[in-house]
């Protein structure tokens, strides 16, 4: 599909040129990844404390068709 000239002009001159620069990183990428892994580990740890009856099925929705 083709963009109209108006849409193209908007994309070139509008929001994209005004997009924010990435924030100044006070933490390195490695530190941020480590922090994200730690957050996930803490969440998993909180989950591990819940006693789950064996008959409990995951809350997926799936219908055979």
């Amino acid at each position: 599909m083709q963009l109209t000239r108006r849409q193209l002009a908007w994309l070139l001159a509008g929001p994209l040129s005004a997009r924010p620069q990435p924030e100044t990183q006070r933490e390195s990428a490695e530190e941020l990844i480590a922090a994200a892994r730690e957050r996930i580990r803490r969440n998993a740890e909180a989950l591990a404390k819940v006693r789950i009856p064996v008959e409990t099925e995951p809350a997926f929705q799936f219908r055979a068709s």
Binding site: L16, A18, R19, A36, R37, N43, L47
Partner: protein, 479 residues
């Protein structure tokens, strides 16, 4: 024709449609007026992703033609609205608020937008959003292709996310209503921060076909509008089964507040600690007044608390896992580095490493949460709590900064209702209920699955006796 008066931009759906049908102005005139305002003011709030002038004027001409021939299609005919930029319109850019998708043009249109077009609503623009609806977890309001979305009530504050532009555009009168989406808080937060009414529908009630996926088991699409009444009118159109959406519940919704149970028969569960301790001090007075209003309507209150589960951990782990899976190609290709928020980049990468065991554990606990909430909602019809405990945060501050030096209350009350309600797929209605530090605050009503008519009936009565939803923000900032 003379310029339309300012109050038109803050009128509700029924009023606008009635004036269109009476030919006080045409749909084209109304659309042009909204488009001019959206294009002029939208960028000042960083709320506009893309104006759709040509499409909108085509739709408006069709609405005028049909109104003239008395082919009336209901109250949304000729009404200008905006859509969060995660909803696809065939042939126009759909950026998902994220730089890696800045040039994305999809060849299909979201089901909700096709449904709105069918009843004559006029899509005038795509609205800004947090990149990838916040997948991975963002730290700054600037995590968006348009930059931080500014709150029309105070432009040093954030509009909320991830449906940021939807909240800001409705509050500032740039659109009559907007569509947003919620995985965890993305409709309720901008609605609360911007002082507009927001409805998160029951999971599965509204088709997500044509919407960016973040979490297949938690994503919902819903309206942000001027009133509960308007939310009901919009939901009636956008709800319903869709074979293109595997999560569709196959149910329709007919807005019928007149047939809702009398308010005096409804039992409301609440936790005093939410209003006395969790709420920020500046917000407590108006939150309590909101409870008084609900009591004055005849609702019967009883104290409740949520069953003890690690709600945030469960929701976080599910969204991390599903979000990383949805964006696996973005992450593994390295294009994820183009996102604006460094924490979000790291969160998406780490999400790929969640073990199947942990994800399944989260989904099993989710089942338990669903069952326990079903029991809780057998004793009460509605849960009420602050939608957010305080007003909008400052743009200049990270979103994870604690806003209070006071120790967190020991009793969690319904503090986790946001996570719990989203995990169980429950509907929520956000109602503006006052101000704190001159910024809007709101309560949320949460009900059983598919109980939207009950929530909307209470919301409609609440808004009949209050005027918080009619308040307008100050004049927009200069260019």
């Amino acid at each position: 024709m003379a310029a339309l008066p300012e109050e038109i931009f803050f009128a509700g759906i029924r009023e606008l449609n009635s004036r269109l049908v009476k030919r006080e102005f045409s749909a084209v005139e109304l659309t042009r007026a909204f488009l001019d305002r959206l294009e002029k003011l939208g960028p000042r709030y960083n709320a506009l992703a893309l104006p759709l002038r040509d499409l909108a004027l085509r739709q408006a001409r069709r609405a005028d033609d049909e109104i003239q021939r008395r082919r009336l299609r209901g109250p949304l005919q000729g009404i200008p609205f905006g859509a969060k930029d995660l909803l696809s319109v065939a042939g126009t850019p759909t950026t998902w608020g994220a730089r890696p998708y800045a040039n994305q043009v999809l060849d299909y249109t979201a089901t909700v937008l096709r449904k709105l077009e069918r009843v004559g609503a006029v899509l005038i623009g795509k609205l800004a959003m947090i990149e990838l609806a916040g997948g991975g977890g963002y730290r700054w309001a600037s995590a968006s292709l348009q930059g931080p979305c500014l709150n029309p009530w105070d432009t040093s504050r954030w509009a909320g996310g991830s449906s940021s532009g939807s909240g800001a555009a409705v509050a500032a009168g740039l659109v009559c209503f907007a569509l947003g989406s919620e995985t965890w808080g993305s409709i309720t937060t901008p609605a609360a921060y911007c002082g507009v009414t927001g409805l998160r529908p029951t999971y599965g009630l509204v088709s997500r076909y044509g919407a960016m996926p973040l979490s297949w088991t938690m994503d919902k699409i819903g309206p942000l509008a001027r009133s509960a009444e308007d939310c009901g009118l919009i939901l009636q159109v956008i709800s319903g089964g869709d074979s293109m959406d595997p999560s569709s519940a196959g149910k329709s919704f007919y807005y019928a507040p007149q047939f809702a149970r009398p308010l005096k028969e409804l039992r409301v569960g609440f936790a005093p600690v939410d209003f006395d301790e969790w709420a920020e001090p500046a917000a407590r007075h108006d939150f309590h007044k909101a409870l008084d209003v609900l009591r004055s309507l005849g609702l019967r209150f009883r104290e409740v608390r949520l069953p003890d589960f690690p709600y945030s951990a469960v929701a976080g782990l599910i969204i991390d896992t599903e979000g990383a899976a949805a964006f696996e190609e973005l992450i593994t290709s390295g294009k994820v580095e183009q996102l604006a928020d460094a924490r979000q980049i790291a969160g998406l990468k780490a999400g790929l490493e969640v073990s199947a065991r942990d994800y399944l554990r989260a989904m099993r606990i989710r089942r338990m949460i669903q069952q326990e909430l079903r029991k809780l909602l057998a004793d009460v019809d509605i849960l009420v709590s602050p939608a957010r405990f305080g007003p909008a945060s400052k743009i200049s501050e990270p979103l994870d900064r604690s806003r209070s030096s006071a120790p967190r209350p020991k009793d969690r009350g319904l503090a986790d209702l946001g996570a719990a309600g989203n995990l169980a797929g429950l509907p929520a209605l956000v109602l503006p209920c006052g101000f704190a530090d001159s910024l809007p605050i709101a309560i949320q009503l949460v009900g059983r699955p598919f109980s939207e008519n009950t929530l909307l009936a209470v919301g409609r009565e609440f808004q009949r006796v209050t005027d918080w939803h009619r308040r307008r923000p100050p004049a927009p900032p200069a260019a």
